[in-house]
């Protein structure tokens, strides 16, 4: 288990069991989360410097990564939302028009 995920689980358990009170960590966590994208910046800078590694098939790789990520986003999002909606039909009123069209087709 990577440290970040282990830390998330441990912190969650500590909050649930009230070993750590919420008010003690709430502000610090909000600050860290607000800065989350900043901590990724050095990793993203490295992308350019390793780009030559894959330069020969760079365009193909970009298409593959974009295509499969799009499939992943669509399937994960639609399945989770679809199952949630079939669970609670009362939410039907908040349906967006394009989801509605799709549901009618099926």
């Amino acid at each position: 288990l990577p440290g970040n995920v282990a830390g998330l689980v441990l912190m969650f358990v500590a909050l649930l069991s009230e070993v750590v009170p919420l008010r003690l960590v709430e502000q610090g966590a909000a600050l860290l989360l607000a800065c989350l994208p900043l901590f990724f910046v050095p990793l993203a800078v490295g992308l350019g410097s390793t780009a030559q590694l894959t330069a020969s098939s760079g365009l193909a790789i970009l298409l593959i990564l974009s295509g499969s990520a799009a499939v992943g986003f669509a399937v994960t999002g639609r399945v989770a939302q679809g199952v949630a909606r079939s669970q609670t039909r009362s939410l039907a009123a908040t349906r967006s028009s394009n989801v509605h069209v799709d549901a009618d087709c099926c």
Binding site: P37, A44, R78, V79, A80
Partner: protein, 233 residues
């Protein structure tokens, strides 16, 4: 340059570029101007112009990157605050996570085989949606290359953070739990950061989805990827 000097230079460069990017994003709000992206491009250009190598910059920036660990763990706080809303969605979340992770993996391998990439590249692409620390361990087990895998993971994270919100809007996914799941399962850390910027529920769910997807992939990928490649080639 001494180590402490490297840290001062890298950290101040990163923070200044990030603050400038936040201002840019506030003025021109768009996925393309997402602060992590414009800041990275800016820093890459500055490194190239000044002759500071990436290796030196990255060594100095290590303390900033180290903060990723507590920042991800901090997602436990919104997770705890919204635990009832999230628990009520456990079943749909699990369904979305399992199907979405398998769909991402299959689409990536089918496309990579279709493009006739090298076997190592195909196998590395198969695990590009797994969070970096697990992906690096997983790479040799599936016949991929660790260094190459890191590049692919970062690229996938950036692509998802940039275009994920647009795609989810386009296909009508508004449910915060479903959005968070997609960000975490497909674009790991970068996606989680983007999800956290969207809302507390999205961020918390993304953090959990990233962890669960990575653990599940660690168990199935060493068996699934070689079989899938064999089947398609």
């Amino acid at each position: 340059m001494s180590m402490s000097m490297q840290i001062v230079v890298s950290a101040s460069l990163t923070v200044l570029a990030y603050v400038a990017s936040l201002k840019l994003h506030a003025r021109y709000p768009s996925s393309i101007t997402a602060p992590a992206i414009t800041a990275s491009v800016g820093i890459a250009l500055i490194l190239a112009a000044t002759g500071i190598g990436y290796a030196a910059y990255r060594r100095g920036a290590e303390p900033l990157v180290e903060l990723l660990t507590p920042a991800t763990a901090a997602l436990a706080i919104p997770l705890y605050k919204h635990r009832r809303v999230i628990a009520a969605r456990a079943l749909p979340a699990l369904a979305g996570l399992v199907l979405g992770t398998l769909a991402t993996l299959t689409a990536a391998i089918v496309l990579a085989v279709g493009c006739e990439l090298s076997p190592t590249l195909i196998r590395s692409i198969g695990i590009k949606s797994v969070t970096t620390p697990i992906a690096v361990e997983l790479a040799p087990l599936v016949g991929g290359d660790p260094a190459l895998t890191v590049t692919l993971v970062v690229a996938t994270g950036l692509l998802g953070a940039m275009f994920g919100p647009w795609l989810l809007n386009r296909i009508g996914v508004q449910d915060p739990v479903a959005r968070g799941l997609a960000f975490g399962a497909v674009s790991q850390g970068f996606g989680t950061a983007r999800a956290a910027a969207e809302g507390e529920i999205q961020g918390a769910v993304a953090g959990v989805a990233m962890g669960v997807a990575a653990i599940a992939m660690a168990m199935v990928a060493p068996v699934l990827i070689p079989r899938l490649v064999q089947l398609l080639m």
